[in-house]
């Protein structure tokens, strides 16, 4: 099930693009690719921006005194990050973490000051424009005590890019009573291999929410971000909306380890295949009580394709409360006919039901973020049937 990507076919050196200082300078096709990854090229209503292209230097801008954004390379020079850098992920975990450790092109370092509640989202954009470029980034996000941050990260390849690989190490630190909403929208291509490696650490009373949207083709993507709820009352929630067209091979899961009492975990995945393969694992492990976790994985097969849902619940103490709900099927004929009885033709009925299935209201996002995701879904839906 775990497929390997041959990294030797990609070049991890030499594509030193100049710093991308203004997204508006990109051509309209690339702008559009970024838009579909949730990136606001005008950078309006953003508390800050991080832009990184190929192997180049990053452009960082903070519009808020409570947020610090640096290229990870600069952050490593400026600060002692030994408590944060490669702390949650093992360098030797697999070939991709090794390659990422050997080839550090950049990545963002984001720190929100204690108590700072950042209203507008911070946006990050990781972009591959060169052909056969292997891009390797390392990201660190630290939300200090009592602080709040919404981050949108859009990853995309240029329209000109046929082949590419993206390796991304991400480490998230949510301190006491802090809150991080991390929304990732991917817009890769039919010949792009993707291996994110993410982990997070949530302290007492902290909240980590991860939203993931993948509506566009990708050749091979595999990830399994793991969040550890380390402090009392910490919470984690993963929401994923994934569509796999023909040719996509997606193995995307989420894992929450509940190591403290009064913790809560939710993993919710909505997957649709229109010809591709989706492996959707999910794992909640509870090692403290009381702990409540729920895992929900629903899949629709529209026409052809494979959906393989693997929900795992692991309690190691008496008193844990874990549950799951998984279903793989098709759109119920009864629902289509119900809407047709109201005057919708079959296509309208089908797309209405699919829209409902992919509804992102469950993510509980602020309006601006919700709009971005809904636009992405509405746009992508045109290619879906």
């Amino acid at each position: 099930m775990a497929r390997e990507v041959d990294l030797s076919q990609y070049s991890f050196a030499g594509a030193d693009a100049p710093a991308l200082t203004d997204l508006r300078t990109l051509d309209s096709a690339d702008k559009r690719r970024l838009l579909m990854a949730g990136v606001d090229v005008e950078e309006s209503h953003r508390s800050g921006s991080f832009l990184h292209m190929d192997h180049g230097n990053a452009h960082c801008r903070s519009n808020h005194p409570g947020v610090e954004i640096l290229d990870i390379k600069d952050a490593l020079k400026k600060y002692d990050l030994s408590d944060y850098y490669w702390k949650l992920i093992d360098k030797d975990k697999d070939a991709y973490t090794k390659a990422a450790a050997e080839n550090l092109h950049g990545g963002y370092f984001v720190r929100v000051k204690a108590g700072a509640k950042i209203e507008e989202p911070l946006q990050s954009c990781l972009f591959i424009k060169g052909e056969k470029v292997g891009q390797s980034v390392h990201n660190i996000v630290i939300v200090e005590e009592g602080a709040e941050l919404h981050m949108i990260t859009g990853c995309a390849v240029s329209r000109e890019t046929q082949h590419g690989a993206h390796l991304g190490i991400s480490e998230f630190y949510v301190k006491k009573d802090a809150k991080l909403t991390f929304t990732m929208i991917h817009n890769w291509g039919e010949s792009v291999d993707v291996r994110p490696r993410s982990a997070g650490w949530v302290e007492e009373g902290g909240v980590y929410q991860n939203n993931y949207v993948l509506m566009k083709p990708v050749k091979d993507l595999q990830m399994y971000p793991t969040i550890t709820l380390a402090g009392r009352g910490a919470r984690a929630r993963f929401n994923s909306v994934i569509v796999a067209p023909k040719g996509s091979y997606i193995n995307s899961g989420s894992r929450v380890i509940m190591d403290a009492p009064d913790t809560r975990a939710e993993i919710i995945a909505r997957t649709i295949t229109t010809g591709g393969v989706i492996i959707a694992p999910g794992h909640i492990q509870a090692n403290a009580v009381p702990a409540r976790g729920h895992l929900e994985c629903k899949g629709l097969i529209l026409g052809k394709g494979v959906i393989h849902a693997i929900p795992e619940l692991e309690g190691t103490l008496e008193g844990v409360e874990l549950s799951h709900e998984a279903a793989v099927g098709k759109i119920a004929q009864e629902e289509i006919e119900y809407l047709m009885a109201r005057g919708l033709d079959e296509e309208q009925a089908t797309s209405t039901i699919v829209r409902g299935f992919l509804n992102v209201d469950i993510m509980g996002l602020p309006q601006a973020l919700k709009d971005v995701i809904e636009e992405t879904i509405a746009e992508s839906e045109k290619d879906m049937f």
Binding site: Y338, A341, E346, G356, L358, N359
Partner: protein, 257 residues
């Protein structure tokens, strides 16, 4: 308005309707009685054109058009509306959004319609998700009010509904069929009434709905046949007293009452 000629319908291999003839004129309310399994719901589902109901013989015309094999949405757009007894839940679709879609291109004040059936708080909820019996009926009525059909098919308006809701539902069904009857300057209520155009085909077991409606005609559906045409209240009284046994006897005499 609706003409059904010698309609035979099968579900799978089983013939459920065995030669139905029925005419419903514009503005007329027709009540369908009969025991469970007699074919009442099958008739409604067939009129709406659902996929499991195969017409093996006969013809359905509506507003002069042969709709025997027309797709469901075409029937809806022609003016047939249906209230479902057990509609499916559609996750992620807001009730308010569906109501707007029911109106097709017509302008519609969803808030105002919702207020009339006490559904204001449900507009932001997913369609039928966790709705009680009464809430389902009110939601169905709300959708029908937006759709504005010329013929309403109503499968058991009273099922699963408490007494308080029954009153609201009964009155709303009446308004849907009669239009709003209020004293208006320049037009007598009698004139308004003569202009009512919505017809109804209503299935009832208990007959509670008859307390709210001016039902014109009624018939009993038994074993896939229609029989015993009479005034709906008379049929109800008769069935309450004698059950449907009399229909069996009647059918064995060729269905003539």
């Amino acid at each position: 308005m609706l003409h059904i000629d010698d309609l035979h319908v099968s579900i799978g291999d089983k013939e459920v309707l065995k030669g139905i003839n029925l005419k419903i004129e514009e503005g007329e309310t027709f009540i369908l009685f009969g025991p469970n399994g007699g074919g009442k719901t099958t008739l409604l589902m067939t009129l709406m054109g659902f996929s499991n109901y195969t017409v093996t013989k006969g013809r359905i015309t509506f507003r002069g058009q042969d709709i025997t094999h027309a797709p469901t949405y075409e029937r809806a757009r022609l003016g047939i509306g249906m209230s479902f007894q057990r509609p499916p839940t559609i996750h992620g679709l807001k009730t308010g959004h569906l109501v707007r879609m029911c109106a097709q291109e017509k302008p519609v004040d969803v808030e105002d319609l919702a207020a009339r059936v006490n559904m204001t708080d449900f507009l932001e909820r997913d369609v039928n998700a966790g709705f009680s019996g009464g809430e389902i009926k009110r939601s169905e009525l709300l959708q029908l009010m937006a759709q504005g059909p010329g013929l309403v098919l109503f499968d058991e308006p009273e099922s699963g509904v408490d007494l308080e809701n029954m009153k609201l539902i009964g009155k709303t069904v009446r308004k849907l069929l009669d239009g709003d009857l209020e004293p208006k300057p320049g037009q007598s209520m009698k004139e308004q009434k003569s202009r009512r155009r919505t017809a109804g085909l209503i299935i009832t077991h208990t007959g509670y709905i008859l307390e709210y409606l001016n039902a014109d005609r009624g018939q009993v559906m038994y074993g896939g046949h229609l029989c015993c045409e009479a005034r709906p209240r008379d049929i109800l009284e008769h069935v309450e007293q004698y059950g449907y046994q009399e229909c069996v006897r009647c059918l064995s005499n060729g269905g003539k009452h």
